[in-house]
Point group: C2
Chain length 447, copies 2
């Protein structure tokens, strides 16, 4: 009979897994765009606290989760592992489909796994305020929750089009005590310049990142926080996969394939990286990242040194990228609309340790609806990509049923407007033309 | 250190507790308005299946939960019991505050505890479609989920003002496969008559109930379903308190006071009734229902035979009531805007076995915000009433700390618009004038 697989509190995960020492050929260092040399840690120290910088380049395989962070994690962790028996039945498959339910967090997604330690290490460093950007609103919500737990203030630059279209996300950030402004704003030089040119600018993640960075460096005791891409964010998310490993063992199963959707890469790294040591030791396990066909960083992008943001304020990192000035179409999985892929996930793909699949949004929404009806959880549009991939794996060969694990990275309760558009037939697929990607990446130094 | 108290699946609750045989002096029978005599079961059989009618008047103390219902419950049950250590700390109290988290269900509230068995017993009876009404949308969502699990269709008449103001609730019902129409609609005689008089009518729960009833009796193989008030709904909700009793025992605690908010009464009955046998045996435990001051059925109403709906289509039941034509002000806890109180809860109040407290919405939203910040869960506006009451109990006498249990009946993620209005200072309190209540109940036969 069906049941959730609950990891006893006493068996909780108390250390993160750092994949850096296990990546064959390692990562290339981030470069300072001013001199094309590896960036000096002091420069990053202007916006990040020592605790996070240390994690960003740590050679240690295991890193302790601070007690105070564990205490807050206990609000929703260990998160449930569930065998999707109702979905399996609806598919008529003998495959076993497990999912790790990260939608149970205060902000409704995996993002809180990193916002809490980020707030903690900033608090440790004596910082009083954090500034960040948010697109769809998941990261802004997660940081809003985490900052007030440590008595920090939080300033969120929210992409204007989302600010207007997602009032519930804004309301959630307010409920958690954060200040939220539409970006472009008149609070920063970048925002002012853009508004002067176009008072009706809808904004972009690139603009919002620039504003948050400018806010951080121009305010006392204020740091910047990023919700994906960076090594320390991927590190924090490994608690997902580490718990899942213990829970799969409780269930007496081991996955043939582990699946996560890929935007900046942190939720995929979180569910997948902890299985990598097994794979390196020869275990037969596939790690599958799922991208939107409209923003196919790994499947169609190039491996290059590129900026993390549109306005070239970040260090250059080696990653699969569509070019930092690539503007993905406005699909509803906002969390997957990012031009690049985290250096860690990029390196794993470079080393052929992970696979990538690109899917269209309509087939993903269809999978999300089936999941909601069968399993009772309405998934985030991002998560629908992982669900569709799991369904593909579960039905590929009915005579060779596999054991599948995917990360349910977040619920879609604040994304219901996009489901309504899907039902109304207002959404369409979009495949980004290869020429446009070639053009956007033409000038990048390939590596 | 903090942790959730998880009831092992093997210790799950497999029987509901029926309070009927334990109510001193019992319930008076529902009356047929046509002749003022106890209503003939056949009449109710036109809209309810035998399985539910049997439960409505069963003398059995324990009733088995069908296997198929347990199987679906396992998606989210046993639900967590949590000790709200962060809230306790913020309050500076030594009181222990526990809450039962019913927000983890597919529709986000306790309503699914009854929608699943209701769909099940209708399916057993060969019924193919259910019709219902919904105000704020919680019940409509819950029934939408449950019906499709059993292959039934679902038709929801949603009060027009909510239909327009709560697009996310509508989208959730669509995602679960239900059909939703704004009420008044042109699909029923009642709706047509009202639209003919006032094409812009905002609708009301009373109108929507009438439409759903008319829909059920005028369509083949179609029954009606109600989300609160009735005995069988209160029965289904006892799984909340029964699990909580086991979990409190796991925690080594016993509550001095058990708290639930009161609209129609089913979530309060669910958390409170299972403790009643202890109380009847002399155990010192208080059971506290919390009403909105704007709709104080028990604290300001009269005990009388009254109709369940505005248009007098239901049998008359003995209950505390503000009068069936009482229109409560539009506070944001839509689930608490009901003129009457379930016969079971009314009888317990009549027998002085439960207490009642009426609270204003502003103090309740304030409590909800504190809860969100400390415990990481944004509660439904209805639930905020229970939270405020728990805070009052926890801080009443700091030298005499109590053990408190309240029901977190639902999350507020689809109610974030009302939080935003609270933050903007757009909400106000409202105390319903005693004269208006006296007028609305003047003509009722007191009992």
């Amino acid at each position: 009979m069906r049941k959730q697989i609950i990891l006893p509190y006493e068996d909780r995960v108390t250390q993160w897994y750092n994949v850096l020492p296990d990546i064959p050929n390692g990562l290339l260092p981030p470069l300072d765009p001013e001199n094309n040399q590896p960036i000096a840690p002091e420069k990053l120290g202007a916006i990040f606290p020592p605790g996070l910088l240390e994690q960003e380049m740590s050679p240690e395989r295991w890193i302790d989760i601070p007690e105070e962070v564990q205490e807050i994690f206990a609000i929703w962790r260990p998160s449930p592992l569930v065998r999707a028996t109702f979905l399996e039945k609806a598919l008529g498959t003998k495959a076993k489909i497990y999912f790790k339910h990260e939608g149970v967090s205060p902000s409704g997604s995996h993002k809180t796994n990193s916002s809490v330690p980020q707030a903690y290490y900033n608090k440790q460093a004596g910082i009083k305020n954090l500034a960040t950007e948010t697109g769809a609103g998941q990261w802004g919500s997660a940081l809003s929750f985490a900052t007030q737990k440590f008595g920090l203030s939080c300033m969120v630059y929210m992409v204007k089009v989302s600010f207007d279209q997602k009032p519930y996300r804004k309301a959630m950030m307010h409920a958690f005590g954060a200040e939220v402004v539409a970006s472009p704003s008149n609070l920063t030089p970048t925002g002012q310049a853009i508004l002067a040119k176009d008072p009706e600018s809808p904004g972009s993640l690139g603009i919002a990142i620039s504003e948050a960075l400018e806010h951080a460096v121009s305010h006392d005791s204020t740091n910047y926080a990023l919700g994906s891409v960076l090594n320390h964010v991927c590190l924090h998310q490994t608690i997902i996969g580490l718990e899942a490993k213990k829970q799969m063992a409780m269930a007496g199963d081991y996955p043939d394939v582990v699946i996560g959707c890929c935007g900046g890469g942190s939720n995929f790294a979180g569910i997948a990286n902890p299985w990598l040591p097994d794979k390196l030791e020869g275990r037969n396990i596939r790690l599958l990242g799922v991208e939107p066909a409209s923003c196919p960083s790994m499947s169609k992008g190039v491996l290059a040194y590129d900026f993390g943001d549109l306005s070239k304020r970040t260090p250059m990192m080696q990653m699969y990228t569509l070019g930092h000035d690539f503007i993905p179409p406005g699909i509803h999985a906002g969390g997957l609309r990012y031009h690049g892929m985290s250096p860690i996930v990029s390196a794993l793909y470079r080393e052929k340790l992970i696979e990538v699949q690109a899917l269209h949004q309509l087939e993903c929404f269809e999978a999300g609806i089936l999941f909601a009806k069968t399993e009772g959880i309405i998934p985030a549009p991002e998560t629908c990509h992982a669900i569709r991939a799991a369904i593909i794996e579960a039905t590929r060969d009915l005579n060779d049923p596999k054991t599948i694990l995917f990360n349910l990275s977040g619920h879609g309760l604040l994304d219901l407007a996009s489901y309504e558009q899907y039902h109304a037939g207002e959404l369409s697929n979009y495949e980004y033309p290869a020429e446009a990607i070639a053009e956007a990446t033409r000038h990048l130094p390939k590596v």
